[in-house]
Amino acid sequence: MSRIIWGSRIINKPSEKLEADYSISSQKARKSFFEEIGEKVLQIGKSLGRELDFLGDIAFSLGRLVTGKSFFRWDDFMLLVKRCGVDTLLLVSLISLLVGMILAFVASIQLKMFGAQIYISDIVGIAMVRVLSAVMTGIIVSGRIGASYAAELAMMQTNEEIDALKTLGVSPVEFLVVPRVLALVLMMPILTIYADFMGILGGFLISTMMFHLNPIEYLNHTQLSIKLSYLWIGLIHSFVFGVIIAVAGCLSGIECKRNAAGVGNATTSAVVNAITGLVIATAIITFICQVLGV
């Protein structure tokens, strides 16, 4: 029979030393509007730090994957790739087509005053290929895939599935995050090129059917106006957006709090962070392109 010890370590309340050591604060005072705003601003720094840490973890895990030291389930990866395409293709088609049409309408307002409606093709083509296709695809993918990444990982966090991985000695970043990031980084450029075509098609339909431009002339003009460098700029955008969306989605999911609101908050913050990241990245890439003269 085991020995019995009772009553030997009774402490009726946390000792003063412990209170001093760990500064127990069970009651949080109500904060004013400005205090809460200030707190949110201060949190930006911490949140950026966490995102950089997370990116570092992903880079480390990718290194392990490349050197064959990490566990990678190809079946899961292929499913993720398929889902990125299937779940977003219809929306990308519709939105890109409509954005191409809207651009054609807007461009025509000024151009028709000079009888230069043929340049609609230049504006639609350049805008879609350089930046708009990538941005629109990024926004759609943030809503569909980024949010679903966050919800999935948040549910896994809530159900202790991520803890189960950790106690098995498996890094959740290696097992869950890396395949998701790679799937999105692979699919974003493909979806963006597809969106380029759909956007150009939208502009083409409006220009030929409503403004009665010659279809061959329109296509020729489009071909001449789009340089290969524009295509590369669009692809760079899409690659960067893929990383941003995947990281925002996975980080929000993994950091989810285990309560009723946790999963909802994770998906919301995944989409908000991803779209904010897209806009900031677009501004930075555009600025760099301007400086480089491309």
Binding site: E160, T167, G169
Partner: protein
Amino acid sequence: MQPVIEVQNLDLGYDDVMVMSNLNFSVNKGDIFIVMGVSGCGKSTLLKCMIGLLVPLRGKVLFNGPQAGHSQMFEKSFWDEEEQERQNMMRHFGVLYQSGALWSSLTVGENVALPLELYTKLSKQQIQEKVALKLSLVGMKGHEDSFPSEMSGGMCKRVSLARAIALDPDIIFFDEPSAGLDPINARKLDDLILELRDSLGATIVIVTHELPSIFAIGNNSVFLDAASKTMIATGDPKALLADSKDPRVIQFLTRGVKDEQKGK
């Protein structure tokens, strides 16, 4: 008897909130060790620290076990080791989580196979055989192709247990194993735990406040008290019930019945 786990001067908490302090106890080889106390007292927090998910504020968790290739026992302080060594130590643990924690995107067979794929050099055929064996041990043979979402809570727990014992661990941790189970299935799970202890020779640590389970299978325990934020008793639960003078321990172990009788 050789202790397998020794907890020394352990303080636990999250950020600036302390949950438990000054924990000292040991778990012997072959024990079914119960971590008990009222809801919210910090039982699961203690378990998290023991299985490597929560860094303690202070103190040590020592694990003893036969080192590969040596007859000598080794003694390692879990949280003082490097990450890689901690992961090596964690491979000797099996954990059954409160919710089962089966990976929802994988089938039952894949859930049990994953630890084997990661840490053994068995062929696919051998892994499948071992998965079938482990599932049959928990009464779930034939469910290899089902997904966790297609099964009841009790079935999920059984599969989770099969996964926990896939690598024949030295220590198996259970977090509220009977939670959400009806009394009959809870009893079956208790019997299964006893069977596993005897067949695998594993040491079992169970976090629970289910009195029938505590008395049915526990032979050693620690009692955590929420008010004082520390342990107030340790020993065989049946002996604690018979001999303890602490009213909090007695109140818990008798579901407050003795207090009511005194009141009458």
